[in-house]
Structure formats: C-alpha cells, structure tokens
C-alpha cells in the first residue's frame, strides 16, 4: 500500500519501499485503484466517511498476498481502526482477514521475512523519531534492529523519546497552537545532540516535523527508514 501521503508528497519513500522489497526478492504488486486507508476521516470523527474508504481499500487489496505499508499510522489504522470503524456493520467481517495480512514495512522485513541485519553502509548519526502509532506494535524495535545493524550508522539518543510530534491528522489544524508547540519541542529534542539527519517510520510525522523545521530554517535532512535502507544498499554497491 503506497499511502496517500506518498502519493501526494513523499514519492521517494514509496519508491524506496519498492526498491527495498525488490532487493529482498519480493514480487511487488501495486493495485492502481488504491487511494488512502481512511485514517483522516476516522481520526476526525467522521466514521461514515471513513467506512466508505475502508470498504474501497479492502476491495482494492482483495486476495491472499501480504500487504506492506511504509507507515506506522496507516498500519495501525488497518490493525485497529478498521475493526473499530466497522463495529456493528453488516460487512464487519471483511476487515479481520485483511488486517491479518497487513504489515508495516520494517515489521515485515524483520518479523515477516526474518531479515535482522541490513547490508550496505550508511555513515551517519541519526535521530530516529519513534512515531506514536507504532506503540504496542513491533515496528520501532524492528526499525532499530535494521538501522543499528547498518555499517557506519549510529542511532542518537535524545530526551522525551516517547513524546508525540504533534501531528495527529486533523488535530494539527484544529489545534494549531498546541500542535505546533508539541512539534517544536520534539524538534528541539531530536536536534539536541546535533545528528546528521532525522528519521521516522511514518510520513505524517515527517510532514509535521519537516513543516516546522522548514519554517524555522533548519536544513537537517529528514529521511524515512525505507530511504535509509535503500540508500545503504546503494552506498554499499548492492543496488
């Protein structure tokens, strides 16, 4: 699943995801009819609108193949939001099997494919934002396992790691003051130890942190973990 944010802003993240999965020997399919997981409406409280998009997504990805998403929050939406939004609906049963074959990208690489070391090299000190929607999932551990195994890559520690970036979907526009303050605080922690770049496992966090950093004139690079994995292979001459 390419996600709407990749479709609109972060094309290289979707591209890196395809390249990484391709490198691992996966036969990647991209159902053209896909749009969005429905999360904006679901989190915004419009579950009727969300169900419309959920049904479309379930139909679009019909079949048995594993569904891999380079986004912690979209994976969380499928795993938790789908069944919540569909509670009491006649076709609620359709989301269970769909959810079972859905994976966040790094979780899929580490726990689905059993790849626990990443080849190539990536000489950089990186602050990895944990992305809140990965709580209770295996994603952030998986991302850390992969990143810390890369030759030359060092993960930087920072304060209040558990704190949110302040995005929260429609929260970011309905609560612009609180959301911005949360993001500014997060950025100050992420940048405290002067990392070479920032990384996340979710484009939504990247959109928010990036928006704040751009406005404040910070040019520290921001990468999705998929891009780091892909670039490590390239730097190591493996891709």
């Amino acid at each position: 699943m390419g996600t709407c944010l990749c479709d609109a802003f972060f094309d290289d993240v979707a591209r890196a995801t395809v390249e990484v999965l391709d490198y691992l020997g996966c036969d990647v399919r991209f159902p053209e009819a896909q749009t969005c997981c429905g999360q904006p409406a679901f989190n915004g409280g419009d579950w009727k609108a969300a169900r419309k998009v959920i049904r479309h997504t379930v139909k679009t990805f019909d079949g048995e193949l594993p569904i891999v998403i380079p986004s912690g929050s979209c994976a969380h939406m499928v795993h938790h939001g789908f069944s919540l939004a569909m509670e009491g609906q006649d076709d609620a049963d359709c989301v269970g099997p769909f959810s079972e074959r859905t994976w966040e990208l790094t979780d899929y690489i580490v726990n689905g494919l059993g790849v626990k070391e990443w080849q190539g090299k990536f000489p950089a000190r990186i602050a990895l934002h944990r992305s809140c929607h990965t709580r209770g999932s295996r994603t952030i551990d998986s991302a850390k396992i992969l990143l810390s195994s890369i030759d030359g890559l060092e993960l930087v520690e920072f304060g209040e790691q558990e704190q949110c970036c302040g995005f929260g979907g429609t929260f970011s526009v309905a609560f612009p003051n609180i959301s911005t303050r949360m993001g500014q605080l997060k950025c100050s922690h992420l940048l405290a130890d002067k990392p070479d770049m920032l990384a996340a496992v979710d484009m939504a966090c990247m959109l928010h942190l990036g928006g704040i950093l751009d406005r404040e004139g910070h040019d520290v690079p921001r990468l999705h973990v998929a891009q780091i994995l892909r670039d490590a292979l390239k730097k190591g001459g493996l891709l």
Binding site: G2, C6, D7, A8, F9, F10, D11, D12, A14, R15, D22, R29, F30, P31, E32, A33, Q34, T35, G38, P40, A41, N43, G44, G45, D46, K48, A49, K52, V53, R55, H56, T60, G81, C132, R135, G136, E160, E162, Q163, C164, G166, F167, G168, T170, S172, V173, A174, F175, P176, N177, I178, T180, R181, G183, L185, G210, G211, I212, D214, R215
Partner: protein, 481 residues
Amino acid sequence: MIKVDKYPTVQAVDEFARELPEEVRQSVYSASKIKTEKRVDALWRDFPDPDANRRLAGEIKQHTLEHLGDYLVAAEARLKANGAEVHWATDGDACNRIIGEILRANQCSRVVKSKSMATEEIELVPFLEKQGIEAIETDLGEYIVQIDGDHPSHIVTPIIHKNRRDIARSFEREGLGEYNDDPAVITMRARKFLRGKYLQADAGITGANFISAESGRIVLVTNEGNSRFCLAAPKIHIAVVGIEKLVPRDKDLSLFLSLLARSATGQCLSVYTEFINGPRMAEQQHGPEQMHVVFLDNRRSEVLASNCREILRCIRCGACLNVCPVYRQASGHGYREVYSGPVGAVLSPLLHGKKFPQLADLPKASSLCGACNDVCPVNIPIPTLLLRLRDKAKTEGSPAAAAGTPPMGAWSILASSPGTWKVALQAGKVMNLIPHSFLKINPAARAWTGSRDLPAFRGGAFRKWLKDRNKTANNPPQAQQ
C-alpha cells in the same frame, strides 16, 4: 472557564492554551514531566514486568464493572454489618441533599473534608456553604484552591498551575501571616490553621480511593495525613464513593495500592494509607460514632451501559495527565471541567449526559499518540474511547466538536473513486504554483501555514516512476489494473 464560540475555526482547548501565561505553562509542563519520569523509575525498579501488573489490574477492574450490581449489593451488606449507614445518590443534587440532611439531623455546623474528586464533581462545598455550614478543605492544595476561589487543575496535584509566590500572596490576604514564600513556612502556617479546624469540626467528609466488596473496607490514601485528622475528632464520618470505586477482595488492594502510588507520584506507597472498617465500636475510645457511606451514581450507570465503559476502571492517579503532551500545554483548566487530561476528555462529556455536545470537543483534544494508554495503571484504551466519542459527536452534530475539523464527505468520495483520485493527484500539482498567502482563505490551510511549511506537492510522481520502471524492466514490480 472559557466559552465555546458557535463556529470557531480552532478548538476551544487550543485557544485556552494559546492564552495561558508562560509561567503557568512552565509550572504544568515541568511538574508533569518530573512525575512521569518518577513513575517510570518506580515501576521498572520494583517490578519485573510492570505492564503485566497494569493488565491484571485492568482485568480485575473490568470484571468488577461487569458484575457491579452484585458487588454493590455485597458491599452494602458488609458496610451495614460493620455498623455503617449506606445511602444511594442517583445524581449530584441527591448526594448533596443526603449529606445536608445527615449534617442537619446531627446539628453539625462545621465540617472538615479531605480531598475527593467526587465531591468536586458534585460541588459539595459550595452547596454546604449555601446551607450555612462551614466546610474547610484540608488537603493543602485543595485549601489553596478554596481560599482563591479557584478550581483544581489536576486530579492529584490540584495547584499544579500555581507557584509558591502565588500561594504566599493568598496566605497573606487570608490573614495567615505576613508574605513569606518559603514552602516550609507556608506548610506550617496551614498546619496550625487546619489543626484548629479539625478540633472544632462536627463532621469529617472524605472520598474513597477504593472500597472492598468483600469486607466493606474503605481505603483512603493521602500524603499529608489530613484524611486521618478529618476522622480523629469529629463524631460523624461521611464518605462519598463513586459506584465504580469497588474492588472485589481485600487482597486485590495490594496490587491497586502499589500501582496507584507509583503511577501518581512515583512513591512505593502513599505516606498514609487508611483502612476504615466502620464507625467506632463499643470497646474503642476514639473515632467517629457514625459512619455514612453515600454511593454516587451521577450518570456512571449510563457510562457503564455505553461503549466507553472501560473509563470507569479509572483509579484517579493522574498519570495520563502527566504524560499527555496536550495537557502539558493546556493545563487542566483548558478542559473546562473537574476531570481534565485524557481521562477527563472521555469522562467529562460522558458525565454531562444530554449536554454531551457542549463538551464533545474534548475528545478531539488529543493527537491520539497513545501515551495515556501506555501509562494507565488499569490499562484503559483511552485513544479508542476518544475515537468512539468523536464518532458520537459527529453523529449527534456537535458544533463544538466540529470546530476546525475539515469536512470529510467530499474527500471520502474522492478517496473511493480511483479514477478521480488519480486525476486529483495530477491536478494537485497546481498547488505548487499557488503562493502560500493565497491558501489562507481556507481555515485548515491557514491553521497549518501559520507555523509550518508544506512540502512541494508531488502528486502522481511515484505512480509515474513505477509505470516507467515497469516499461523498461522485464521483472516486477508490475502495476495491476
């Protein structure tokens, strides 16, 4: 307290946070952060797997709620056998009336009370004052709130929003001595004043942190020992107990007490933990001669019947407030009700009954980051409950909840029509040509661009790359129609 405009473009909690004095924000933020850190230290130092304790405590509470009727009957029988009188209050007015009648029947004109969120909820003290009864809060924080005519801004630390200079000024105004902001001096002055009040009081009013259905034992935890003093001299003890405060057995208390103190303040155990079996027995020389337990419903049974019943597991530790990034910016007063933070965002609108739409914006005051669920000692799935209430708010058409949230109907049609979606992705590139100043016409865009940039729109770029790649490569990935 703030008013919700009819059709504002940002949320009331956000407006409140924007206007909050920087000094107050810093007090709330620093104190919350320290308590969060102490909680983590205490739990992980003392238990091999604190999450297992949280899950177990959550299951015990959920079980209690699923069988609440049976446990309440059992508790009532035990309390009566212990010599206490049991009263049932369907709502706040009924609870206040019952307490007023007990006090009148016993010619009580002076009351001391210990900290209790249930009594805040039903506004007991203002009610008693109207009846001509002197009612003194004896928890230091609550006492300061009382003399300032303020409201608690935190479940556990009611004056988290104040600093010692504010308090010194209040004490000077109340005639408790000349201005002195040394915390030790403030505390000793309060102690001297309150000790006089304890000795004069006719009745002591408390809440209850827990009540055991098995023994009828009421458990009170404090760090100041004030609830103990409230019961030492007065002849009458009245406990106001929310019906959700039950635990099945005495042995369950070891788990709950160890989680409560660690979650609330990072202590292993609160300084004072009292187990109250009933009024003074014939062979005892001290203690209240009468004990009254008033069970308070006040819409809790409605919550129990709803799809948000898990919120009734709450043991009022405040850990979700402390960890919440929104609470840290908005403080408790931003939530306009007695219960604030994530738990308040769920509980306050539910306890509002038919007036739910007025507080239906509170469940929106969350980025759904899930930190509240992670720290909850009874594992309440707060983000799930916030989401359910957002759905309820939308279904019931609350203007307060709708403020600032872009409408999603047209978007959902777009996002379920793949052909139009692809055209929109291409067409969206036109956004790159629009100066950001033009975007300000749209409230949502204005709210974003006030403090944040948008990246360049690259709609359709990935799909184009994929198509080109598949044309040149013999191997997958392949686009599927």
